[in-house]
């Protein structure tokens, strides 16, 4: 079975590299696509802007979504993903520094599959990413492709 990509929506380049390093270390081999703000994530998912012409039938197996993002924030991205027939079934894991009740509440209300608060300790961060990958990409049966 072909491995499907992970879309990481994260604006902090250091966090992107750390996530990449953590996934490598834990042997998660899926291709990692990075969107640096909410608009870029939407463009990728819906094949618009710089991603015009992308085959939108091929969608990520998992979206790792930060909440505080430039241009379009994470909750708006989540809302748009859940509102569209082509993307609504994609598992979305909120991966953020926030543990504000209001964010948790809003994220789950909008249909987030999971909410992970990024630990500061890198080993725990790597462990969290590995468990997310293990659960959503290996253990969990993904929704069928819309081909």
């Amino acid at each position: 079975m072909e491995t499907r990509m992970i879309l990481l929506v994260e604006d902090n380049p250091s966090d992107v590299d750390l996530a990449r390093r953590a996934l490598d270390k834990k042997g998660v081999l899926n291709e990692l696509v990075v969107a640096r703000d909410g608009q870029e994530a939407l463009d990728f998912l819906f094949g618009t802007g710089p991603y015009a012409g992308r085959d939108t039938a091929v969608q990520p197996a998992l979206v790792l979504l930060d909440l505080r993002l430039p241009k379009v924030d994470g909750l708006t991205v989540l809302g748009r993903v859940r509102a569209d027939e082509g993307t609504r079934k994609i598992p979305v894991v909120i991966l953020t520094t926030s543990d504000e009740d209001s964010d948790l509440d809003a994220a789950y209300s909008l249909g987030a599959n999971s909410f992970i608060r990024k630990p500061i300790d890198f080993e725990r961060f790597a462990e969290a990413l590995s468990q997310i990958g293990m659960y959503w990409l290996v253990l969990n049966e993904p929704p069928p492709l819309n081909r």
């Binding site: 966090d15 750390l18 504000e100 500061i120 300790d121 890198f122």
Partner: protein, 339 residues
């Protein structure tokens, strides 16, 4: 003329009559004179009275005028006061709105602190670990030690940020008062402490049947901090003893958490509840210095008071009251019984 006309007796009588006649005339004159005087006086008095009455009438009419003026003024002033009141209310509303706005800004600030400070901290931790993993061989033990110190300091800063956020959350959280089983809460917290530090031995005595009126989540945080402190500061005691109980005062009661740990010097008691103030160094007893500040804010929000007594190397007792807590749901029969 009769024979007796010339007698001395008659003459005497005649003379007496004449005298009386004269006297009468004089008296009549006097009476007349007095009557005239009286008439004059009556006229005078009448005139005076008339004048007085005229004066009174003028005064009355002046008074009436003044009363009317006064009423006008009172009405004016009342209008002014009413307008000022309305103005005052408007200002209070304005200020309240401003305060709410500032509070919201503070919330946003706390949120930013959470997000913005934690992210670079994770970078520092991650990349120093990457350095250790990928280039550790190129460093000697001292160099690798430095990296470990960087990571330990990062961890400490993360704890400080989390503590700060806990403090701000306690202030912002909506409060819901209910009847809270303080004994039950304390038992839960004590169990958590025992599980987190299974090697420790400490006697924890919790008075049964303590019921308080307050916000359950916030009171739990109070007990976590006070019992957690007692647990921490007794860790060098061979026979550590921690106690939760109540003392009844006139019309109010105070809850207390007592330990036989490191205690503190009463001279520094004013510093106990200020954020980031610590009376012990971090190496001896780790901590952020935010726990008691959190306790004070929570108790303050309940309209209560918190204070402490301590003796260095003998122990400390922290007391707190909760406003609007009348302590009528207690079962005092069980007081003082150890767990």
């Amino acid at each position: 003329m009769t024979a007796e006309a010339g007698t001395p007796a008659v003459q005497e009588l005649q003379s007496r009559i004449d005298e009386l006649q004269t006297e009468l005339t004089t008296t009549n004159h006097e009476i007349l004179s007095l009557t005239l005087e009286l008439d004059q006086r009556v006229e005078e008095r009448t005139a005076q009275l008339q004048a007085a009455q005229d004066e009174l009438q003028r005064t009355n009419s002046d008074l009436l005028q003044l009363t009317l003026e006064l009423e006008d003024r009172v009405a004016e002033r009342t209008d002014e006061v009413r307008m000022l009141n309305a103005e005052l209310e408007r200002r209070v509303e304005e200020r309240t709105a401003e305060l709410a706005e500032v509070n919201k800004e503070l919330e946003t600030f706390a949120y930013s602190v959470s997000h913005d400070l934690r992210a670079p901290l994770r970078g520092i931790d991650g990349w120093s670990l990457a350095l250790l993993e990928d280039y550790g061989d190129a460093l000697d033990d001292t160099g690798r030690g430095f990296i470990r110190t960087v990571r330990a300091e990062t961890e400490r800063m993360a704890q400080l940020i989390d503590a700060l956020l806990q403090l701000s959350r306690v202030t912002r959280r909506e409060m819901r008062r209910e009847v809270v089983d303080l004994t039950g809460l304390a038992r839960e917290v004590a169990e958590e402490l025992r599980q987190a530090d299974a090697d420790r031995r400490a006697e924890i005595v919790i008075v049964p049947g303590i019921v308080a009126h307050g916000d359950r989540t916030l009171l739990r945080a109070v007990l976590q901090n006070l019992l957690g402190n007692a647990w921490k500061f007794t860790n060098k005691r061979e026979h550590a003893r921690i106690e939760l109980g109540i003392v009844l005062g006139p019309g109010q009661r105070a809850y207390f958490v007592r330990d036989n740990g490191a205690g503190f010097n009463m001279a520094f008691s004013s510093k106990l509840f200020a954020p980031f103030q610590r009376l012990h160094n971090t190496g001896e007893f780790p901590g952020t210095g935010v726990g008691l500040a959190t306790v004070q804010r929570i108790i303050g929000r309940h309209g209560g008071r918190v204070w402490a007594e301590g003796v260095p190397d003998e122990g400390a007792t922290f007391y707190f009251t909760l406003g609007g807590d009348h302590g009528d749901q207690d079962d005092p029969a069980g007081r003082g019984q150890p767990e």
